[in-house]
Amino acid sequence: MAFSHLLELENVETHLRLRDGTIKAVDGVSLTVDAGETLGIVGESGSGKSMTALSIMRLLPRSGRIVGGKVCFKDRVLTDLSEDEMEEIRGTEIAMIFQDPMTSLNPVFRTGWQVGEPLRIHRHMRSRASIAAAVDLFEKVGIPEPRRRVKQFPHMFSGGMRQRAMIAMGLTTSPSLLIADEPTTALDVTIQAQILDLLRTLNRDYGTATILITHNLGVVAGMCDRVIVMYAGRIVEQGRTDDVFAHPEHPYTWSLLHSIPRLDADEHRPLRPIEGVPPDMLNLPPGCKFQPRCPFAVARCAAQEPELLQVREQLARCWVTQAGTRLDG
């Protein structure tokens, strides 16, 4: 079976079984990523964006299980692979970078040794050769004095350098898909810009498709071809970044865009925070999950959950916009 996309998720459902009940952390998510493309996934904490990424990698926590749908990558169905086959794909075809560079490197090993680990796992390289490869990789990701740096321990690296080292580790085997789970959240703004710049360069130079998970809309605007907005485990809006930012078709996206300060806005326009609190995943409201906080909600929203349907340029899960109403931008 051949697939036209690099990565395709079909109706993936991931449940977390907790003591208090089962959480539908990922609820019927379908998405595609093409070769060389950058896809952004935004949403607040607990919206299921990280769980979507971990479902792709099949690295869910103990309590998590993919209960429905399938993940296809290249010509393989990842959700049907054995654990051994999956280990072969992790780190060769798909790599992942994590949020906290402070703890994402092992404190007792030299960074060069760690960056070379995928080569030792997958290419059965010897330590010396893998560290030599790490020197090259350090150079590629812009770590100065790579020869000296590979011999250092993680605590001797700054946060930005560690994240660069993590990216180097992800690139070791030239994967075709890189999943970056909030790669800049723990970094300060200037370093953030450098890391994003690096990701952009790598995407351009090596054609690595990237899934960028973030809660920072600015990052998405600068980086991503397409964007997916998630809320309560569901995709609520999906489309080309330009379209979604220019005229959001889901009130949640609209609210997000209106809650960030803009330099080019009217001087006295107040910021508009999103009312209410993030949803209780154990006790989701009936109907549209965003409806209790939605400034546009109509009677139907509380009764029946909308589907993710085409609304003008993009896909949105909203009765109001599906009926033709435009959210005032």
């Binding site: 990698m57 690295l59 103990r62 280990e87 072969e88 794909i89 992790r90 780190g91 060769t92 790599a95 992942m96 994590f98 949020q99 906290d100 703890t103 994402s104 490197l105 092992n106 404190p107 007792v108 090993f109 680990e117 995928p118 796992i121 997958h122 321990f153 605590h155 001797m156 993590m166 580790m169």
Partner: protein, 294 residues
């Protein structure tokens, strides 16, 4: 030790290597002294056949009950005229191997339990930890005595029993550190590189356990020596005529009113040995702890 100089200045880049003992010794006087003492003990055990002036089990009934500093017998002789210093030196050859074997049993048993429990979590963790709790519920020495009583009194069984008693300590320690490590993203990151769980545990987690384990080894070696002496004192460990410190105290006990050195000399040997291991363990803990918290 509290009088050791504060060694780890905040912010000083420190290599977190499991085997940097010599480096630590340079920074921490307690570690240095502990290492020298423990090293000396092992050396004595190694060369005792050469440096002992007499055969430790050769009896000289004519020279029985000689007090310390007698000519030819520096620490005197016992009730059968056996040379005390030779017996004490040879005693190290009994106590130290017992400590090593017991620690190895505890470390391997407890380490495996702790790793399994901490890494797997859930029901496995619950069940294994209840077993460990059950072992911990007994006072260590009482449990060791009970085990030897069940296995039959011999030095080998004493080693096993002391080792089993040490298992829960290692299991708890290893589990706690593994639980802490599991929170760190490098665990997930390593898995995301395609490392199997076994590779993750063996090559990435175990090296992180070295520091706390090193401390625990020194401390439990001290306990093992004491426990072995107690078991032998009670007749459950080394059997006569093996030159064993605990056993020497048992015999010497009878002659305490007139010839107290018969019990005091091996007692001092035990004290010095246990103190050395504890000093090493305590100082190692002090020297390594600031980094564990980072």
């Amino acid at each position: 030790m509290s009088n050791a100089p504060a060694i780890v200045a905040a912010g000083t880049p420190i290599r977190r290597r499991p085997i940097a003992l010599l480096e630590l010794a340079q920074r921490n006087r307690g570690v240095l002294v502990g290492l020298v003492f423990v090293g000396a003990l092992f050396l004595i055990a190694l060369v005792s056949p050469i440096i002992s002036p007499h055969d430790p089990i050769a009896t000289e009934p004519d020279n029985a009950y000689l007090p310390p500093l007698s000519p030819g017998h520096v620490l005197g002789t016992d009730e059968l005229g056996r040379d005390q210093i030779s017996r004490v030196l040879w005693g190290a050859r009994v106590s130290l191997p017992v400590a090593l074997v017991a620690v190895a049993v505890g470390l391997v048993g407890g380490g495996v339990l702790g790793l399994l429990s901490g890494y797997a979590g859930g029901l496995t963790d619950l069940l294994l930890m209840r077993v460990v709790d059950a072992l911990l519920a007994f006072p260590a020495l009482i449990l060791a005595i009970a085990l030897v009583a069940a296995l039959g009194p011999s030095l080998r069984n004493a080693m096993i029993a002391i080792g089993i008693v040490a298992i829960p300590v290692y299991a708890r320690l290893v589990r706690a550190v593994v639980l802490q490590l599991k929170q760190m993203e490098f665990v997930m990151a390593t898995r995301s590189l395609g490392a199997s769980p076994i590779r993750l545990i063996v090559r990435h987690l175990i090296p992180n356990l070295m520091n706390p384990i090193l401390v625990q080894i020194s401390l439990s070696a001290g306990f093992a020596i004491l426990a072995e002496a107690v078991l032998s004192f009670l007749g459950l460990g080394a059997q006569p005529p093996t030159p064993d410190w605990g056993q020497m105290i048992t015999t010497g006990r009878t002659f305490l009113p007139n010839d107290p050195w018969l019990a005091i000399v091996p007692g001092i040997a035990i004290s010095i040995t246990v103190y050395s291991f504890n000093l090493l363990g305590d100082s190692l803990r002090d020297a390594l702890d600031p980094r564990l918290r980072s």
